[in-house]
């Protein structure tokens, strides 16, 4: 979705603006994290029926020199738009920003989004509002992100910064020049597992997916790898049978990949394998033993009173206690052994 457009930035004469209050129009790169996009799409779904687009505030972090902006979060801001005028709830925007800053002080205001690709006079007005001094992003440029959400069409996103334009100061207030800047969608290591589950639901009719267990995930990953291996070996087989066109680059690549397989002695493998599998099984066995012991201890603690007096109970728990300690020591030993082996 973040298609690679090429951008060329030219220095240009700037419009009339008070001297010394010129916002920077230096080009910058924008990185968008998936939760921001998800949130924008969610907002777009919840828009009032009579409104074509909705807007909201983007929060994120700016690199030290201001050339890199990472959009990490966003929230919706109510606004109404008619043919003649636009109304943004500024009070709401301010209070919501304050609330977000309390929860996450590092994420600051970086710009705003709209859920249509259209740029019009109102966009300019809002852009100037977000880029102004005081409450806005000044002296950094405000980023404007548009995400088109037209049903039946691809979701298209674009990012802009703006430069003032206009002959007089009055005209400059409600117009601005949107300069496209490059952006990309990036997800972190931690997001991976979540995105996996989310995207596994994309081909399903009900658009939902239950939580899968480790084993199921492993099974799916293995099947996937097997499929890929099949594809490659089919290609190699075809080349050998002179049915497919050979490619030296591909051959070299496969060769490199194969040479990554370590050459180890069979006995070494056997030994390491046995050690490791034993470790795993011992830990699993001991964990379950502990579970049983704890269960037993709980049962004894509550059941003992029916058997005798309080003394009997304390004796009972005492006995249990010794066992428990023993169990703990055993466990400890098992673990030390294991770490030595590892």
């Amino acid at each position: 979705m973040a298609e690679k457009d090429s951008f060329l930035h030219l220095a240009r004469p700037l419009g009339p603006a008070p001297v010394g209050a010129q916002p920077s129009t230096a080009p910058l790169g924008v990185v968008i994290q998936p939760q921001a996009i998800f949130s924008i799409l969610d907002h777009s779904l919840r828009r009032p029926a009579d409104q074509d687009r909705v807007i909201g505030t983007l929060l994120g972090v700016r690199s030290e020199d201001g050339t890199e902006i990472e959009i990490r979060n966003c929230y919706a801001v109510p606004h109404t738009e008619t043919a003649e005028q636009v109304e943004v709830d500024m009070d709401y925007q301010k209070q919501m920003l304050a609330l977000h800053l309390r929860a996450n002080p590092r994420e600051v205001l970086v710009g705003w989004y709209a859920t249509s690709s259209e740029l019009n006079t109102f966009s300019a007005l809002i852009q100037n509002f977000y880029g102004q001094q005081g409450d806005g992003t000044f002296p950094h440029p405000a980023v404007h992100l548009t995400v088109s959400t037209v049903p039946g069409q691809e979701i298209e996103s674009r990012t802009y910064i703006s430069a003032p334009i206009g002959v007089t100061a009055e005209r400059a207030a409600d117009s601005c020049l949107f300069i496209p800047v490059p952006h990309e969608l990036k997800y972190g290591e931690a997001d991976k597992s979540g995105l996996e589950l989310i995207s596994s639901a994309k081909d399903r009719e009900d658009r939902s997916q239950g939580i899968i267990t480790d084993l199921e995930a492993l099974e799916r990953a293995v099947t996937h790898v097997l499929d890929m291996l099949d594809r490659v070996s089919k290609y190699v087989g075809d080349v050998l049978d002179e049915e497919a066109t050979p490619s030296s680059a591909l051959g070299q690549f496969l060769m490199n990949a194969l040479s990554l397989a370590p050459k180890v002695d069979a006995a070494d493998i056997e030994r390491d394998f046995n050690n490791h599998i034993q470790d795993v099984l011992v830990v699993s066995y001991l964990a379950n033993t502990i579970r049983t012991q704890i269960d037993l201890s709980n049962r004894l603690a509550t059941a003992a009173l029916t058997l005798g007096t309080g003394d009997a109970l304390s004796g009972e728990t005492g006995g249990k206690d010794g066992q428990k300690g023993g169990g703990g020591e055993r466990r400890g030993k098992g673990r030390q052994q294991r770490t030595q082996e590892a």
Binding site: A103, Q209, L218
Partner: protein, 365 residues
Amino acid sequence: MAEFTKDTPLRAVQVEALVVMKIIKHSSQNFPTTATGSLVGMEKNGTLEVTSSFPFPTVDAPATDGHHNDSASNLAAAAPRNKANVVYQNEMIKFLREVNVDANNVGWYTSASMGNFINLNMIENQFFFQKEMNERTVALVHDVSRSSQGTLSLRAFRLSPTFMAAYKEGKFTTENLQKSGFRYQDILVELPLTIHNSHLLTSLLHQLPSDAPKEELSFPPNLAALRQDPNTPQPPLFPNLDSLDLSIDPFLEKTCDLLLESIENHHTELNNHQYYQRSLGREQAKITAWQQKRKAENSARAAAKQPLLPEDEWQRLFKLPQEPSRLETLLNSRQVEQYARQVDGFSASVSTKMFAVKSNMLPGE
């Protein structure tokens, strides 16, 4: 409508993809400090739909060295029932209502590491949310460490009605437990959780390149070109190949540490209990001695035709020690069970992987 839904228990939890991403982001950002936040959504026919979430405000911890980290974690863990945060939550929900988000509080979420989430904090938080009449709230637990292994670990919990009743009374004595037959397995009820995507999101996901291109591609002229080729597909989001990772030592070590810690706790609790039993025994022995002495005195007085001394005065003179609450033991037991199950699941997948590697390395055996 409310009358209808009042009695149907919650059967399942459905979480929007947006919420999943928000929780993951918040939790991994704050890791290893615990992160907590609030969930909003609505309930429909026994399914709780969680449609949005927001984090609770961070508590200012002056420094981030070892000690402060702990206290920050504790503060964050206690956040959901903090008065200031209730205000924050209500304010946030008020604002969210204006932009058509389902503005009902449906619970809270917390981050965890290796399943170590069963503690008094969690119970108190959930109790705080669940004690309201006609409530529909869940606790979502996201396990950051386990999710880094490849599979997302997100679970939904509620306190069981029996536990709620017992906790309300606040009595976790041996006698009470015996009477109610309450076991540690009954503390939490886990609800099945599904993840739900909106139409727009599905559309977006289909746009992201993830599969190998279907059409015939021209062959790259050399190796460097192959590496730079934009058509080379990125590793797909699904299935996540991270789950093929073979590292097992850190996981086992951590689990062992946590298990040992739990045993230690259990030990302490048992010692407490033993101490209580001993002091109870001592006090009782004293009382019996006193009673016998009083009886002897009384019979002597009866013989001397003097008025008898009251025999129930011991209740004022001696004070029986308070029985320590068994709640901690119960929680600890539940935690151990959790660890054990976790190890079970882990060893299942790891032994599979190990056998796969073995047969790969030693073909023909």
